[in-house]
């Protein structure tokens, strides 16, 4: 188990966002968290990343408790989050944004090499490399956000709704990339609204509702679970016409 | 705390007759209580050094004054920031304290202007060590007195001196934009022009700043024979220093009683040679002054005069007020001390030939206690020397 979350409770002031949530991620896996708006998915990721601290419960990363570790120390363990809503550094250029992604590394030539890899994957970003990140279109920003996350050479990648606001063709591409990253050895925790896609590429999944894990299991099983179909797949079974 | 408000004092049994006849009644002090002199002064903010210094000078006077028929004096110095709002608020505080009998102050003009009408109503005499603005004594106030020069006196004398004695033909006027500095500068300019000289430049500087080279350069281009500065030692000494690098190295610097002081000398060093200032005509080194200087240094850790030029005036104003209190205070049949207020006002104004540390004072009927002609002093070999 590379990442283990045990019984965490998280509060925003008086509001409890997570109630006794437990889940885990094994080395090399893709695990997805699905759930409605406000179910607490982003809260989970932020707790893992150290942005939020749970009121109780434990987060362990390879046998090491990281419950109250600061975000920068968690990043140094190569656990990287690509946050919801892209969060591009608006007035930094695309290039600088990518450099920021590699903040924990200091080898300039390595950084350069990885930026080239990113540009290979997303030619669109190469075209825009000197444009301020804030003026990119929504989809371009999403590509940049994922690329920026990859710059740190993550061991675990936490993706928060990477397909949001993307053109269908790009969604495909993004999921391809996620798959590929995973094949190259990165474990992935994927938060998605697009439950169908997420469950299609994931090994396992957890369903979150109002801050609680209500369902968990193999992705395929979840895809066939009537409740999941009804609530998160738009009432349509897998394989039906889109 | 004294038991009764001033106006009711006359009714108390045991009060001496003066209290019944006194227009403002008496302040009453039970045995063991203290007779308070108030002072409104800027203790904080940019002008804090004046208030701190003058109140420290006055506090020594209060100690020196000993007691009045067994009652001790105390100084209540309150921060008025030098502003009208602060002045009015301090004055209102003082008039509600029945133990306050007189005010050694205020220090800055704005505060004095707002405070005056309040003391007027309560019948509390003031004696300002530092308000020089000419019109303050022309307002018909019964409570306001000062031992500071009136700008008129000082300014006219300085104008004449510049033209007649120093034979300056072209004069540049600088002031710090305060009512004190500007009032003085205006008077000098007018008198100098009346005498037949030419005022070639008039500029104001911003107090608190420390770089005046620009304005001095502009003044230098007019080639004045002398620069008259209305303002205080802080800016005055910077001006003297910077005159040397802006083409005014040959012009005479002529300051006022605000620029006089040891502090000025330490700041200007050799640059100050030949700089003028005005002071009250007094024997600069009396035994009393030496004693005071020693006491000041011992208590406050600084040379007297290093915080402001008004240290000694601060002492004098408190000392004169204490004297006046001693002159009018009566012990009643009940063993309390009674200070008749209107009588005290009159006593302060009746001050005559009082030899203080900063001059010899005789109050006129308008409250002007420093009518003598100013004495001019010049820096020679790093020291102030009186000139004829």
């Amino acid at each position: 188990m590379i990442l283990n979350i045990e019984n965490i409770n998280v509060h925003y002031g008086a509001i409890q966002a997570l109630k006794d949530v437990s889940f885990n991620l094994n080395e090399g896996e893709i695990v997805t968290l699905i759930g409605a708006n406000g179910a607490g998915k982003s809260t989970c990721l932020n707790t893992i990343s150290g942005i939020l601290h749970p009121t109780s419960g434990r987060v362990t990363f390879i046998d090491e408790e990281i419950t109250n570790t600061s975000p920068q120390d968690i990043v140094k363990k190569h656990m990287i989050q690509v946050p919801e809503g892209r969060k591009i550094f608006a007035s930094m250029s695309v290039w600088e944004n990518l450099e920021m992604g590699a903040y924990i590394h200091s080898d300039r030539s390595q950084i350069k090499k990885r930026i080239d890899q990113v540009f290979e994957r997303f030619p669109r970003l190469k075209e825009r490399r000197n444009q301020p990140g804030g003026t990119l279109s929504g989809g371009e920003q999403q590509m940049l956000a994922i690329s920026r996350g990859l710059m740190a050479e993550p061991r675990v990648l936490l993706l928060d709704e990477p397909s949001m606001g993307l053109a269908p063709i790009l969604v495909e591409q993004i999921f391809d990339i996620i798959r590929e990253i995973n094949h190259n050895g990165t474990s992935i925790l994927l938060v998605e609204q697009n439950a169908l896609m997420a469950l299609s590429i994931a090994d396992r999944g957890y369903v979150l509702d109002s801050g609680k894990v209500v369902l968990e299991g193999k992705a395929d099983d979840l895809l066939r679970n009537p409740m999941v179909i009804k609530a998160y797949l738009g009432g349509e079974a897998i394989g039906s016409e889109l | 705390q004294p038991s009764a408000a001033p106006s009711q004092a006359a009714v108390v049994s045991g009060a001496p007759d003066v209290c019944t006849s006194d227009a403002f009644g008496c302040a009453v002090f039970k045995p063991g209580e203290v007779v308070k002199l108030g002072m409104g002064a800027p203790m904080t903010g940019g002008n804090g050094s004046y208030g701190v210094d003058i109140s420290q000078g006055a506090s020594i006077a209060v100690t020196d004054a000993g007691d009045v028929k067994g009652w001790k004096f105390a100084l209540d110095a309150q921060d008025d920031g030098g502003t009208a709002e602060g002045g009015a608020s301090v004055a209102n505080k003082f008039v509600t304290d029945p133990a306050i009998v007189a005010i050694a102050g205020h220090i800055f003009t704005d505060a004095t202007r707002a405070a005056m009408p309040i003391y007027e109503k309560a019948g509390i005499p003031m004696l300002s060590p530092s308000n020089t603005v000419a019109d303050l004594t022309t307002l018909g106030s019964a409570v306001f007195n000062r031992i500071a020069f009136s700008d008129t006196n000082q300014g006219n004398a300085a104008g004449d001196y510049l033209f007649n004695t120093l034979k300056v033909k072209d004069l540049a006027i600088l002031h710090d934009g305060s009512s004190y500095g500007k009032g003085l500068a205006d008077t000098v300019a007018a008198q100098f022009a009346k005498d037949g000289g030419t005022v070639v430049a008039t500029q104001a500087i911003t107090p608190g700043e420390t770089d005046f080279t620009a304005v001095l350069s502009a003044v230098a281009s007019k080639n004045p024979g002398a620069v008259y500065f209305g303002g205080y030692a802080a800016e005055g000494s910077i001006l003297v220093n910077q005159m040397k690098q802006t083409g005014l190295e040959n012009a005479v610097f002529f300051g006022d009683d605000g620029t006089y002081g040891v502090d000025f000398l330490t700041h200007v060093g050799a640059n100050g040679e030949g700089a003028f200032a005005t002071i009250a005509p007094a024997s600069p080194d009396s035994a009393a002054k030496t004693a005071f200087n020693a006491a000041y240094l011992a208590q406050f850790g600084k040379e007297a005069g290093s915080l402001s030029p008004y240290t000694w005036a601060g002492y004098d104003s408190a000392a004169i007020l204490a004297n006046a209190v001693k002159a009018v205070a009566v012990v009643g049949s009940d063993g309390n001390l009674y200070v008749p207020r209107a009588a005290l006002m009159a006593a302060v104004r009746a001050t005559k030939d009082y030899v203080g540390l900063s001059g010899t004072f005789t109050c006129q009927s308008n409250g002007e206690c420093n009518a003598g002609l100013p004495q001019f002093v010049v820096v020679q070999n790093g020291a102030w020397v009186a000139v004829q």
Binding site: S91, Y103 | T210, S221, Q242, G247
Partner: protein, 373 residues
């Protein structure tokens, strides 16, 4: 669900449109008037009256450059902090004041230490370069420490509060520091003891129009040092990792943390740098102007803040430019327009208003041409 009647909307924009046009028209008219006035005054002063000779202009310019350099240095501190926290560090002038005190006491101490056997000289004059260096190190260290603790105590707990709250906290800190200095060191004005090689008032003399114009050593020193520090800072911010993390934190703290940036540390470092620069400015101020007291930071603080905004707040080259422009406007402006020097601040602020009317984000500030929504 209620049934809503939705009447069609008639066009009624015309009235608003007219109002909007008036404002758009007003700006150029205002600009034209001001420019015409300036041109007229310049013509009057420079061509018709010819009040000042070249020597005077040179002196004014020198004075402007020197004071502008110091403004720039303090303004940088404002801009750095503003850039990262979007807050006006009102206590910055006080940080500079404490640096000036530190420099003052350092020089005083160096002057008191006697060295060199027979020909007794003070340490200050025996090793002036070392002494000056040490004084700067001490001044910068003290101010940096004050800046660090200021942030830690008065601003950090307010990081999540509305933007104006830390501003008030800063105002409180400013009042506190000013009065603390007054109470600790007395309100006395103190004289800085310069080493002989940097004597105040001494300088190179050049002759213009048969008049001797002095270029003071302290002034040149101040100016050169300001420029050097500014360049060093620019390199730090643009080229180093620290600079990158500062920019990232400025843009988005949470995301910066997700990139591995230690947000608290970066902010602390920013305050340390900004404090150190203010300290350097304070020591220079003492060397050049000689006078140090508890109120010495207030006016430069306000001026530097103005300079930072004039250049475009948050923009480092902007702060430098703003400082220099402000310094020159203050010293040359009144003479050039033939108005009283007393009104130099009025002039400075009027220029500020004009600049911002036409360039709402300052001289070099980013022009947000069209906000992306």
């Amino acid at each position: 669900m209620h049934a809503l009647s939705l009447p069609t909307l008639a066009v009624k924009g015309a009235r608003f449109k007219k109002v909007a046009h008036v404002f758009d028209l007003l700006r150029p008219i205002l600009g034209a008037i001001v420019l015409a006035f300036i041109a007229y005054r310049l013509y009057q002063v420079l061509i018709v009256q010819q009040e000042y000779g070249a020597d005077t202009w040179t002196r004014l310019l020198i004075s402007g450059l020197i004071i502008g350099g110091v403004y720039a240095l303090i303004a940088i501190g404002y801009t750095l902090v503003y850039g990262i926290l979007f807050m006006i560090n009102f206590a910055h002038g006080e940080v500079m004041m404490l640096g000036a005190y530190a420099g003052l006491f350092a020089f005083q101490a160096f002057n008191a230490i006697q060295v060199g056997g027979q020909a007794q000289t003070s340490f200050l004059n025996a090793y002036p370069v070392l002494a000056i260096l040490l004084a700067f190190v001490i001044g910068m260290f003290i101010s940096a420490a004050i800046g660090y603790f200021l942030e830690k105590i008065a601003y950090r707990p307010l990081r999540k509060a509305p933007r104006l709250v830390p501003l008030i906290s800063a105002i409180g800190a400013s009042i506190f520091l000013q009065n603390a200095a007054q109470l600790l060191f007395s309100p006395q004005l103190r004289e800085v003891t310069n080493p002989d090689i940097l004597r105040r008032g001494a300088g190179w003399t050049i002759s213009i129009n048969n008049a001797n114009v002095i270029i003071p050593y302290t002034g040149v020193f101040t100016f050169v040092l300001s420029v050097l520090l500014l360049i060093a800072l620019y390199i730090i911010v643009r080229k180093t990792r620290l600079g990158r993390s500062m920019r990232a934190v400025a843009l988005d703290k949470k995301t910066a943390a997700l990139m591995g940036v230690d947000v608290d540390r970066t902010i602390s470092q920013t305050f340390i740098i900004s404090g150190a620069l203010a300290g350097a400015a304070g020591v220079m101020w003492g060397l050049h102007n000689g006078m140090v007291y508890f109120y010495v930071g207030f006016i430069p603080g306000i001026k530097a803040f103005t300079a930072a905004v004039l250049g475009g707040i948050g923009n480092l080259p902007g702060a430098m430019l703003g400082g220099l422009v402000l310094g020159i406007v203050e010293s040359v402006g009144p003479a050039a327009l033939g108005i009283d020097f007393q009104l130099k601040d009025v002039l400075a602020f009027v220029i500020l208003i004009i600049v911002l009317t036409f360039r709402p984000s300052g001289l070099l500030g980013e022009v947000l041409a069209e906000e992306k929504v």
